[in-house]
């Protein structure tokens, strides 16, 4: 049943990435529209330093960044695990790969989450 669980989360992460990445792209490229919503408070381009800092301080954007990070890490690492499994490795190695990828993914997630929260204090 664990595989079913992993797969469901893989799909859910994919949907979340689609939504959050879409949001990210929209914020980056539709600055005139999102600027009006207070996402580009300094005006001008979305990637201008002042706008980036302002967005990094918004609690909602911190949540978006962390959620996108978690979803992307999970989705990507599950895909990597699938590729490695298809090399025909035995159950012991499968377990080691799963534990290794979970550990690496969690470390990267914690690191990224700290960075996102720290950026809020810029």
């Amino acid at each position: 049943m664990r595989e079913t669980k992993y797969w469901i989360w893989h799909l859910a992460a994919g949907v979340l990435i689609l939504f959050l990445l879409g949001l990210h792209m929209a914020i980056m490229h539709l600055d005139s529209l999102f600027g009006a919503w207070g996402l580009n408070p300094s005006g001008g381009e979305a990637i201008a330093w002042n706008n980036v800092v302002a967005r990094s301080r918004m609690a909602a954007m911190i949540v978006v960044y962390i959620a996108l990070l978690g979803a992307a890490l999970y989705h990507g690492f599950y895909g990597l695990r699938t590729i490695v499994f298809e090399l025909g490795i035995g159950p012991a190695l499968q377990k080691a790969v799963t534990v290794g990828l979970w550990t690496a993914g969690l470390c990267l997630f914690v690191l990224g989450a700290i960075a996102a929260i720290a950026a809020g204090r810029l």
Binding site: W7, F85, G88
Partner: protein, 277 residues
Amino acid sequence: MPETSLSNRTIDVYIRRYNPERDARPRWQRFTLAVARGMTVLDGLHRIREEQDPTVVFRYSCRMSVCGSCAMLINGRPALACNTQIADVASERLTLAPLPNFDIIKDLVPDLAPLFQKHRAVQPYIQRADMEEVEKPTGEFYQSPKELERYLQFAYCIKCGSCMAGCPTLAADPEYPGPMPLAQAYRYSADSRDSGFDERKVQAGASHGVFRCHYAGECSNVCPKGVDPARALQLMKRELVLDYLRLRRKRCPASVLRVPGEARRNPDVPAPPPYTV
């Protein structure tokens, strides 16, 4: 073999020969074959064996697409030798090789033992708490036409292994059960007389199970019986997901219907003929 008319057409038949006990690697051997109208690949192989080389090895039994023994790679595509007419697939050159993704026993004969092992592993039979009723039936299990439709096309599978030969996931991962066993796992789990899903989901939902399917769809493309194993795999995924989310409808397996003897015959339906045996 009755022949209606000889077309006088001669083609080259390349057969992949291999005897693992003697040969380092497979080799191609060329034969010339006079093709008659209606001649199947299996007929052609018999003709070659009778007239040119009695050592060519191939497997067959029913000659009518029922037993699944004669599947081989015909011009690079898995198919049954007994229901493939040479005229339909070759005008000048026909290549015959054993099914890929299996070890070769000899020439055109693949070792299907792993296929049957994987098939057995998914418990391809009706399972229920009252197994004595299955062993010694006192009546018939009720099943509506709609319930039958849920699995009927998957029950047409003859275990020929063509889908396994066409599956790229199986080619990369020998642990993967393959389309046929997984489709059969679904076929029995979808049967309203069965309650063995909980046993089968262990195999189907394992790390090398149904979630490794890449949707290549080649299994359904090559199936000589028109079965759609790729669809069965996706339906099995749906069952596993619904089961994990506790949304899968638990159903009691069909109950025994003991009424036929007591039921009144519809006057529009003629009575069956008397038993002859």
